[in-house]
């Protein structure tokens, strides 16, 4: 019962979206030309078809970002409790240093292997 | 007494085989010489131990002699236990005599001699071990070990269809071993505390134990007896599981055929005897007539098939089948004379068939084939008197002519079986008559009659005489003076039979 507003929101959202697109599709004029049908490339003329192989560099960068982003995520809870535990035992700093060191080895490997070179 | 002669006898050929593997290859002429002498000396050394064991056996006692026992895997009650008694002493003699003879017969093998010798040595180890083992696990260990070398022996050095013959051999052997394995494990687990030692399992240990198979209760003794019997029958080429044997007999080289027929089959029958008399006495009592029937059937079918053969090798194969049937009749007779006769005939069968198989090999080497029904042969006795004499001795032993080993065995089995199974005795005598007929025909066609056919036929060389001599001597000794050997066997047999009743 308490989720009725959500249902209303959902319905209205769908209606507005579908309605806008549907009405323009039904009532709008249709005079397609070659140039008008080209995909939008921020004002630039498209050079080729989009169906070609994407360089693996993009994948590599994405995966590396993912790995180090997850590392960053692990920093946050540590940062939250860091101050409290520092008064008890300074070991908490060493623990995070070890974690960082492990990932630094990986970073160093990535760097020296040339995975961060763009060309 | 804890001497280690048996272990020495079992291990020496193995050491010889391993040493063969590490021999560097010598160039040129003397290439195989070292390996030959190494192989034969390892084999003879082991045979020597075997002969010493047989000669030093005390004859009035039924106890286990030359026993060795030490614990191998304690948590599964597996012990390394070896010993000699009346049942296996003759087979030790057989193994000791046959294997050096086989190695000597393959002296001039051109290709792969080293490998062949290693395989024969391995076979000697496994058969010696299987014969002397008193622990079921150890027995199976050696028995299964003996099946693999045959695959290579037949497959590498055999005739035209050697691959399929080897394949059938290993398949049948694998299934036979598997059945025996299950039977042994059944026996192991049905006794508290679990034990593999034959001594512990002897007699009534298995009475009254049942196992539930798909709901119904089956007596363990009967099930294990059936499985072990089937497993051993597969490897002993008992009809109807004999097709692999005749195929292998055709394709295997002569020495391998001898190892297959003159050693494997007697050892298989011995294992069957050991297991039935010691472990399953009650089931044996119930199944004795069945065993006699199977034996008689084998005898009949072997004899009839042999009469139709025109090839020496196949003749030998079917003869072997028939003789094995005769031994089975003795086993099932449950009479002291019959069982002693069975044990003795095992030895005589082994020696006689070894001789016959080697003889067939010699003929095929000289004539290029081993068929005797052709019209182009005959009259070889004048050109090869020694061969004719030796072949005659082997044939005589197989025909149970007096003075040769086969006679004693035959006679004892017939005497022992007559009271309980007269029909089987009649079958045996009929088969004997039939064998006389076709063996004499074979002999006549080969040796007697007019000489025809050009081409040289050399008599036995010195080497061949040397290695046939032990077989001939053994057969003649067994026939002329069987008393010492019989005295070794009798006490054990009497003890086992009295324990059964």
């Amino acid at each position: 019962m308490a989720y009725i507003p959500v249902l209303i929101l959902l319905t209205l959202g769908v209606l507005i979206g579908v309605g806008a697109l549907g009405v323009s599709a039904l009532l709008g004029p249709k005079f397609p030309t070659r140039k008008k049908d080209l995909p939008y490339e921020c004002g630039q003329t498209p050079i080729t078809d989009a169906r070609h192989r994407i360089p693996a560099r993009f994948y590599l960068v994405a995966i590396l970002f993912l790995l180090f982003d997850v590392e960053a995520i692990f920093f946050f809870p540590w940062a939250v409790v860091y101050k409290k535990y520092l008064t008890i035992n300074a070991f908490i700093l060493i623990e995070m240093a070890i974690f960082l060191a492990i990932l630094l080895v990986g970073y160093f490997y990535v760097l020296r292997k040339g995975a961060l070179e763009w060309e | 007494m804890n001497n280690h002669l048996i272990s020495l006898m079992v291990l020496l050929p193995l050491l010889g085989a391993i040493a063969q593997a590490f021999l560097p290859s010598f160039p040129g002429e003397g290439k195989d010489r070292v390996s030959r002498w190494l192989a034969i000396s390892a084999s003879i050394a082991s045979s020597f131990c075997g002969l010493v064991l047989v000669l030093s056996m005390a004859s009035e006692t039924a106890e286990l002699q030359a026993a060795e026992r030490f614990t191998w895997i304690g948590s599964y009650a597996i012990t390394y236990e070896m010993g000699l008694d009346g049942l296996n002493v003759l087979l030790v003699l057989l193994v000791s005599i046959v294997f050096p003879v086989l190695i000597a017969s393959e002296w001039n093998r051109a290709i792969g001699a080293k490998g062949m010798f290693s395989l024969f040595l391995l076979l000697q180890t496994s058969f010696a071990g299987a014969v002397c083992a008193q622990d079921l696990f150890l027995l199976f260990f050696f028995w299964a070990l003996s099946s693999l070398p045959f695959y290579f022996l037949i497959g590498i050095w055999g005739g035209e269809e050697r691959e399929s013959a080897a394949f059938r051999t290993i398949t049948t052997a694998a299934f036979g071993n598997a059945l025996l394995f299950v039977s042994l494990i059944l026996v192991y687990y049905s006794v508290e505390p679990h034990s593999f030692s034959i001594r512990d399992l002897a007699g009534t240990a298995l009475n009254g134990k049942f196992i539930s198979v798909f709901g119904s209760d089956v007596p363990i003794s009967g099930l294990a007896f059936g499985l072990a019997g089937a497993g051993l029958a597969l490897r002993a080429a008992v009809w109807p599981a004999h097709a692999w044997f005749t195929h292998a007999a055709r394709e295997a080289p002569a020495s391998v055929f001898v190892a297959l027929s003159a050693v494997t089959i007697p050892v298989a029958i011995y294992i069957f005897m050991r297991l039935s008399y010691t472990l399953f006495p009650d089931t044996l009592l119930a199944a004795a007539s069945g065993i006699v029937a199977i034996g008689a059937l084998n005898l009949l079918i072997g004899g009839i098939s042999a009469a139709a053969q025109g090839d020496l090798r196949m003749l030998g194969a079917y003869l072997c089948m028939g003789q094995a049937g005769l031994v089975l009749i003795g086993v099932g007779s449950l009479d002291s004379a019959g069982v002693v006769g069975a044990v003795y005939q095992n030895l005589a069968l082994g020696l006689g068939l070894a001789g016959f198989g080697l003889f067939a090999g010699l003929m095929s080497e000289r004539l290029g084939h081993s068929r005797f029904l052709e019209s182009g042969g005959g009259g070889l006795a004048l050109r090869g008197p020694m061969i004719a004499l030796v072949a005659g001795i082997f044939v005589a032993s197989l025909l149970a002519l007096p003075g040769f080993g086969g006679f004693i065995g035959h006679a004892l089995i017939v005497i022992g079986s007559y009271p309980a199974h007269p029909a089987a005795v009649l079958v045996a005598l009929a088969a004997l008559l039939l064998a006389t007929y076709y063996l004499f025909i074979m002999y006549r066609l080969l040796f007697l009659g007019k000489q025809n056919g050009a081409g040289s036929f050399t008599d036995l060389s010195l080497r061949e005489r040397a290695y046939l001599f032990p077989l001939v001597a053994g057969i003649v000794l067994c026939g002329m003076y069987p008393k010492p050997l019989l005295e070794l066997v009798r006490p054990t047999v009497l003890t086992l039979l009295s324990a059964m009743k």
Partner: protein, 489 residues
């Protein structure tokens, strides 16, 4: 501090991994050889430390996420030894180029680190993580020959099936967590003892966990990947995967099934907390079908690696019988068999990798006549495979007998007959392989292959422990039983 000492082998493995990775990017050219030496030194010190760890008692470390007890000590030694063998195998194989060896060694070390952690894991999440880690390393190892389409195919198959298994594992663990609100398996066991699971929930959880672990152990119904992956991967990688991935699965299966669901004291097969789940029927079915499928498939193969791979799959079926009986004899027989198979599988694939080095193929038709060309290696191969399938006289026979006996003791006649049949079939498959090796003995099928000294030494190094586990079977079985006996409950 004490906790760190207890996991010192894993720390040493991680340090070795770090040094190998750093070494790869700093050394160039000839000095790349130093990396293998570093790796072996590091692994050796980890092995030593794992041996020394026996002086401490069984303990929980890191608030119960890891358990250092007899079972984990056994598997640690197992996996570190496996890593050392795999490193040496990669040095002798031509399928892994010298320039790519450091990376390969890094993957091996990482894999064995994951396996050690999987053997000690006592926390659902850590076990999941460790398994996925092992599988991930496996994907890379399977696809290591980048230019070979079969290797790529192997990696892809491994990835897809592994992902499915990972999903099943996650789902099963999630349901278990949802039922008990706990992650530590000891605490879960205590909770389940007091409030058992509902019958449907228990069934679903058991099936999901079992399917995921069945993938790891190459059991039916998740066994189809093994044959293709093991034959497509480069041969040294195959050895590592065939031994390590399966053993990690068995380690986890033992710990999970014993600690989570079984009674402590390992007396009988009662799984009271799982209620009426027919777990033994499921395990028996998986075991029986795996044994038969593996041996029948091995019989029909025409390539050596695929044949051995299918024999390995059949062996998994045998091994799970040890877990099925759920008593000390069965599980210690399982461990004994794993130990024997470590050397047997490693040795067999090592010789096959040498053959592949020579003739660039592992098809049986290409391998014809190998026995004539190199006697020592071919005989070793046959002996290793005889040991794998458990034929006398090699030590695998004792293990086989122990497993079949344990099953027979519980009156599982059907399973035993299937096992015996599969045993005979795998013997026949081995005979086919041996026969191809022999080829046509009358003529030599190619130039003789010399066996370099280091190959002989390594083969002897693999054969010796194999024979020793046979001669000293009593001691080996005793070690295995002790490892089981000191599991923390």
């Amino acid at each position: 501090m004490r906790e760190l000492i207890l996991i010192l082998p894993e720390i040493l493995l991680a340090l070795t991994l770090a040094f190998v990775i750093l070494g790869e990017v700093t050394y160039h050219g000839e000095r790349l050889r130093l990396i293998s030496v570093t790796a072996l030194l590091g692994l050796g010190s980890a092995f030593l430390q794992a041996l020394l760890a026996y002086q401490y008692g069984a303990e929980r470390v890191f608030s119960g996420t890891l358990v250092v007890d007899g079972l984990s000590l056994f598997f640690r030694l197992f996996f570190i030894a496996l890593a050392m063998i795999a490193v040496v195998m990669s040095l002798h194989s031509r399928e892994i180029a010298p320039s790519r060896r450091p990376e390969y060694i890094a993957l091996i070390t990482a894999g064995s680190l994951g396996m050690c952690i999987a053997a000690s894991a006592a926390n659902l999440l850590l076990a999941f993580l460790a398994l996925q880690f092992i599988n991930l390393v496996g994907y890379f190892l399977a696809g290591y020959s980048k230019r070979s389409p079969r290797s790529n195919e192997a990696a892809l198959k491994f990835l897809i099936v592994g992902a499915v298994a990972g999903a099943l594992l996650a789902y099963g663990m999630a349901m278990l967590f949802a039922s008990t609100q706990l992650l530590n398996i000891h605490e879960i066991h205590r909770t389940l003892v007091s409030t058992p699971l509902a019958a449907t929930a228990a069934l679903v959880i058991f099936l999901l966990l079992f399917l995921a672990l069945a993938f790891q152990m190459t059991l039916f119904p998740m066994h189809l990947w093994a044959s293709d992956v093991f034959s497509g991967a480069p041969t040294p990688a195959t050895a590592f995967l065939a031994i390590g991935v399966r053993a990690a699965g068995f380690a986890l299966a033992i710990r999970f099934l014993l600690v989570l669901f079984a009674q402590p004291a390992l007396q009988s097969g009662e799984w009271q907390v799982l209620g009426g789940v027919p777990w033994q029927g499921v395990l028996a079915l998986a075991s029986g079908v795996t044994m038969i499928a593996g041996s029948l498939l091995a019989l029909r193969q025409t390539a050596a690696k695929k044949m051995v791979a299918n024999l390995v799959v059949a062996e998994s079926g045998f091994l799970i019988m040890g877990l099925l009986v759920m008593n000390e004899i069965g599980v210690s027989a399982l461990l004994y068999n794993l130990l024997v198979q470590l050397f047997a599988i490693a040795g067999a694939f090592y010789v096959i990798s040498h053959f592949v080095n020579e003739v660039r193929s592992d098809r049986l038709t290409e391998l014809r006549g190998m026995l004539g060309r190199t006697v020592f290696q071919s005989v070793c191969l046959i002996l290793f495979l005889v040991s794998l399938i458990g034929f006398p006289p090699m030590p695998g026979f004792i293990g086989k007998f122990a497993l079949i006996g344990a099953a027979l003791q519980q009156q599982r006649i059907g399973l035993v007959s299937v096992a015996v049949l599969a045993f005979a079939l795998s013997a026949i498959a081995l005979a086919r392989l041996a026969f191809a090796l022999i080829g046509d003995f009358k003529k030599l099928s190619g130039p003789p292959i010399a066996t370099p000294l280091r190959t002989k030494i390594f083969l002897g190094f693999l054969m010796m422990p194999l024979l020793l586990t046979g001669i000293f079977a009593e001691q080996a079985l005793g070690w295995a039983t002790k490892s089981i006996g000191s599991i923390l409950w």
